[in-house]
């Protein structure tokens, strides 16, 4: 009896979470795709997919932190591009090793992110305006200096690191061996770190707090300056790391291959249940959002649906998802006020 009650409670709780529905969508799509082409549901396919999407997944995690804090960052694609380009230039001219390259990209990212934070915090410029402006400034200056030329022929130590596998699985039936890419490992590491920061540190709770109600957070004694510096500096750091990963993935620095996709990344995070009012969003949701977009693209290709349809289908999913979550949010508010009235009537 009791255990039955408990399990219905668990189900109720699951049904009240946005993540459950995203996960459900992933399962349903997976079943449909597998029914049409069994090549989809293989470890090889998924490991390849996560290698491709690790870069976007890393950016999505950074965007999540900014959205939770009640802000938005549009400039991260420019930050990633600039970090990648500077890293590549230094690497090609002076050599170095994989750690100095990562360090260079990360530091550039942090500096650019902190510039955003200064405008946002000290001059009280709305985050969307600040970051649209700096997106154009960072990217415009880079293109003006480089004329958009592509850097390639990276040293072998760099490319080798990018091709590294964390573990390998021998291919069955004489197929080539495959494994988990180092890019996926970086994504997982960042997920774990951000999860830990958000759930288990004072800093993480502070990010949720300023997103929920900045004024209340300030009065309670949170240091708003340092939290905002952390949020935008961290987004910058993530942008820098993503730039480093992009270099590993492509083996070249192309100034125009990340820029322009800022809203696509934000859409993945939003799909995972984060909203732009701040104070909400989970890392699980964000991962599921990225995975849903990844398997949709991959699944449609496997089902031989023309790539022309991809954007339309992803657009439909996003519209349905945000509408559904707004509708549920509204219903929850109504239900809460009804039950409150009831308890008041009883009392």
């Amino acid at each position: 009896m009791q255990s039955g009650e408990r399990s219905t409670n668990v189900i109720k709780q699951l049904l009240s979470r946005h993540e459950t529905y995203v996960a459900l969508a992933i399962v349903i799509f997976s079943i449909v795709i597998t029914a049409i082409n069994p090549a989809y549901l293989t470890l090889r396919n998924f490991l390849g997919l996560f290698q491709t999407y690790a870069f976007w997944g890393v950016l999505a995690v950074g965007v999540l932190v900014v959205l939770i804090s009640g802000g938005i960052d549009i400039s991260f694609t420019a930050i990633a591009t600039v970090a990648e380009y500077v890293m590549a230039t230094i690497m090609l001219r002076f050599g170095g090793d994989i750690f100095t390259s990562l360090l260079i990209a990360a530091s550039i990212g942090i500096v650019l992110g902190l510039i955003n934070a200064v405008f946002i915090h000290y001059f009280k410029i709305p985050t969307i305006i600040t970051t649209i402006a700096t997106l154009n400034v960072y990217y415009g200056v880079l293109i003006a200096i480089t004329h958009g030329s592509i850097l390639h022929s990276f040293p072998s130590w760099f490319n080798n690191f990018g091709n590294m596998l964390v573990f390998t699985i021998p291919g069955s039936h004489g197929g080539s061996p495959y494994g988990m890419s180092v890019l996926t490992a970086i994504w997982i590491a960042i997920i774990v770190i951000v999860w830990f920061i958000l759930q288990h540190t004072r800093l993480g709770r502070a990010v949720y707090a300023i997103g929920g109600n900045a004024e209340a957070a300030r009065r309670v004694g949170f240091n708003i300056v340092s939290i905002q510096m952390f949020v935008y500096g961290f987004m910058g750091l993530i942008g820098g790391i993503a730039g480093f990963m992009h270099g590993l993935m492509i083996g070249a620095a192309e100034p125009n291959s990340i820029y322009g996709h800022e809203l696509d990344v934000i859409a993945m995070v939003v799909l995972g249940g984060a909203n732009l009012a701040g104070g909400k969003g989970t890392i699980t949701g964000t991962i599921l959002g990225v995975v849903l977009i990844a398997i949709m693209g991959n699944g449609l290709t496997i089902m031989r649906v023309s790539s022309y349809w991809h954007n339309l289908i992803i657009g439909v999913i996003i519209v349905v998802s945000v509408s559904f979550s707004a509708y549920r949010g509204r219903r929850a508010v109504v239900r809460r006020s009804v039950s409150k009235e009831r308890t008041e009537a009883v009392g």
């Binding site: 009640g70 946002i120 410029i125 709305p126 305006i129 859409a267 939003v270 022309y308 996003i318 998802s321």
Partner: protein, 340 residues
């Protein structure tokens, strides 16, 4: 009112300075009729898009779907035109009406999602943006539609005496929006809703209707921009003008539109557009690349905000206010919820 007129003066001074600077930098080529004409016709597309963006920003929202809608309207018009070869004058008219009608339908859909379903404007229009972009690719098969009658080409490239037709269209619709916002009940309601949606609801304003109308209006202006775009490119395609999206937000903000709603005027936006167009045109003449121009736009916006902030700080000190100003940063997007 006082805030708005002083803002216009500031923008006017800025415009005069930028214009003079560009004139001095290239005396032979900047203030020529040809250059001014080309500035005017370039300004039309981003101008119409910014007008639509501004209208939604005044309600406290945003419309990210405008570029996708502009492309869609252009594609629909192009389909009707190329389906009826050779297109008569009447067919041209029908084609334009069809394109604009589709735009208004999408805009109303945005409005419904925001006002009725309760999705925040940035998410609703982000969704429809990706959806419509996808739809555009599907219906065009990723290709280009071209071969338009001369009447269509005239819209974007012709001259009315010395004035570029595109600029005249922009000016006409800017004036129309100005009248709508300034002298009608609808305009009054838009401002009131943008500054305080709860107050406007309790004073009898139908917020739902105001929102749906505003987003339909924004899409209509995007559709008009789409007409000029297909005329100037002499073709329709998914993906035209995608660089304009974020720039329209910057233009609106430079013109005094608040990111949290309630403020923004057509004259302010008009001055802002002239400033930005003079900057990019002047810099291109000197030989700067388009990208450095865009980054200078970014710097100008940041500089204006920083300057405003410092001036207001000085003003505060002069008034010897003792209590510190409340913390305001970090939550400006909260207003997105107000539509719920």
């Amino acid at each position: 009112m006082k805030r708005q007129s002083s803002e216009l003066v500031t923008l006017g001074v800025m415009l005069a300075l930028v214009f003079l600077l560009m004139w001095i930098l290239s005396p032979q080529r900047f203030a020529t009729l040809t250059n001014l004409q080309s500035m005017g016709s370039q300004l039309a597309v981003i101008g119409l898009l910014s007008l639509g963006m501004m209208a939604t920003m005044i309600t406290g929202g945003i419309d990210l779907s405008i570029i996708a809608v502009a492309d869609l309207a252009g594609i629909v018009t192009a389909f009707v035109l190329t389906a009826h070869h050779p297109a008569s004058g009447f067919m041209v008219f029908i084609a334009i009406v069809a394109g604009l009608a589709v735009a208004v339908v999408v805009g109303s859909l945005n409005g419904l999602l925001i006002a009725v379903v309760g999705v925040s404007p940035i998410l609703a229009t982000l969704g429809t943006m990706i959806l419509i972009q996808g739809f555009n690719i599907v219906i065009t098969g990723g290709g280009l539609i071209s071969g338009f009658p001369s009447a269509i080409l005239f819209i974007g490239n012709g001259n009315l005496w010395i004035f570029p037709m595109a600029f005249v269209i922009f000016l006409g619709f800017a004036a129309l929006l100005h009248l709508l916002m300034r002298y009608t009940v609808f305009g009054f309601n838009v401002y009131m809703m943008g500054s305080n949606p709860t107050a406007s609801r309790f004073s009898g304003v139908d917020n739902t209707r105001v929102l749906i109308t505003t987003y339909a209006l924004s899409s209509l202006y995007a559709g008009l921009a789409g007409m000029i775009m297909i005329s100037q490119y002499n073709s329709a395609q998914a993906g035209y003008g995608s660089n304009f999206l974020l720039l329209t937000i910057l233009a609106a903000v430079l013109g005094g539109t608040s990111a949290t709603g309630g403020f923004g005027t057509v004259p302010g936006l008009f001055f802002a557009l002239l400033i930005l167009q003079s900057l990019s045109s002047g810099l291109t003449i000197i030989g700067f690349s388009g990208f450095i121009t865009i980054s200078i736009w970014g710097i100008v916006i940041l500089a204006v905000f920083v300057l405003n902030f410092i001036l207001s700080k000085i003003g505060d000190r002069r008034r010897k206010r003792t209590d510190p100003p409340p913390y305001l940063g970090g939550g400006e997007l909260r207003n997105d919820e107000t539509s719920a």
